[in-house]
């Protein structure tokens, strides 16, 4: 079934640092739940027993950025809130990933209006856009699995070459 069955004949395995670090990282993605509006409710459902995000090792939603790898921005981000989202993202330790959950977060959605940021990629490096208004919980699980694939294929020290984000101004805000 598990590792012990595979190891029964040989007793040892060889691997690379990148592979085992990637495996460890993808199996313990700790989300930072930025539940800003209604998508947050679906995100809570993912944490519940029916959808059970714990199957993917991501049940430890931390309400502090210091211990998180994955920011799930769930909800309409206004210009006022964008500073908060960006600051919390900046306070997360590297390496870190971002899911833009729902259409409001990804593109502004139906809020084609002056207070809403038309997509959080204007101030955050988004790894995955998740469609839906709001997306179903299983859709978020699918997004998490895609993020896990991305994390698995990231080299262990790759993030150190990425330059730190410069402060941005979105539409003069």
């Amino acid at each position: 079934m598990g590792l012990e069955a595979k190891l029964m004949n040989d007793g040892f395995i060889t691997t690379t640092i990148d592979a085992i670090v990637g495996w460890a990282r993808e199996s313990s993605v700790w989300p930072m739940p930025m539940g800003i509006s209604c998508c947050g409710i679906e995100m809570m459902a993912v944490g519940g027993p029916k959808y059970d995000i714990a199957r993917f090792g991501s049940e430890v939603m931390r309400f502090t950025p210091r211990q998180c790898d994955l920011m799930i921005v769930a909800g309409t981000v206004t210009y006022k809130m964008s500073h908060v989202v960006r600051k919390i993202y900046d306070q997360m330790p590297d390496p870190k990933w971002v899911i833009a959950m729902g259409v409001c977060t990804s593109t502004g959605g139906m809020y084609r209006s002056y207070p809403v940021v038309q997509g959080i990629d204007q101030f955050l490096p988004v790894d995955l856009y998740l469609a839906g208004c709001p997306p179903r919980p299983d859709n978020l699980l699918n997004a998490l699995m895609l993020i896990q694939d991305k994390i698995k294929n990231t080299k262990a020290r790759e993030f150190q070459d990425i330059p730190l984000l410069e402060p941005v101004k979105v539409n003069g805000n």
């Binding site: 908060v84 306070q91 590297d94 150190q160």
Partner: protein, 122 residues
């Protein structure tokens, strides 16, 4: 006798060495990319307002000191009350009078604290 404790010392030594080694190796080899924002205190993304080293007015110490008045009073009054009848038969009215004087002195202190506003909390 002391040889029995050698495994305990080994375990303690191992625990200390392991803990220090883990923290130190993480500091030495772990990649660190500190920025000003990352090092700033986490206030749910808001700007921290004011200092954390604010002066807090200590009100409780007045209550604690007033408690001493009643505490001392009770310490002296209880044995006196238990032995009162036999003492009254032995000595007379001065048993009652001396305790009364003692209580009056205490109540003066109590009244002083009350006048000074020692029971006002805010």
């Amino acid at each position: 006798m002391l040889e029995n404790y050698i495994p305990l010392i080994v375990v303690l030594g191992f625990a200390v060495v392991f803990a220090v080694a883990v923290v130190a190796s993480s500091k030495l080899f772990g990649p660190q990319r500190p920025t000003k924002v990352k090092m700033s205190p986490y206030e749910s993304g808001m700007k921290p307002i004011g200092s954390t080293e604010e002066r807090v007015s200590v009100k409780y110490y007045v209550v604690a000191m007033l408690f001493i008045i009643f505490d001392l009073e009770v310490i002296f009054v209880y044995p006196w009350a238990v032995k009162f009848i036999s003492l009254f038969k032995e000595i007379g009215i001065s048993v009652f009078v001396s305790m009364f004087i003692f209580l009056v002195v205490f109540e003066l202190g109590f009244l002083y604290a009350y006048k000074k506003g020692g029971f006002r909390w805010d």
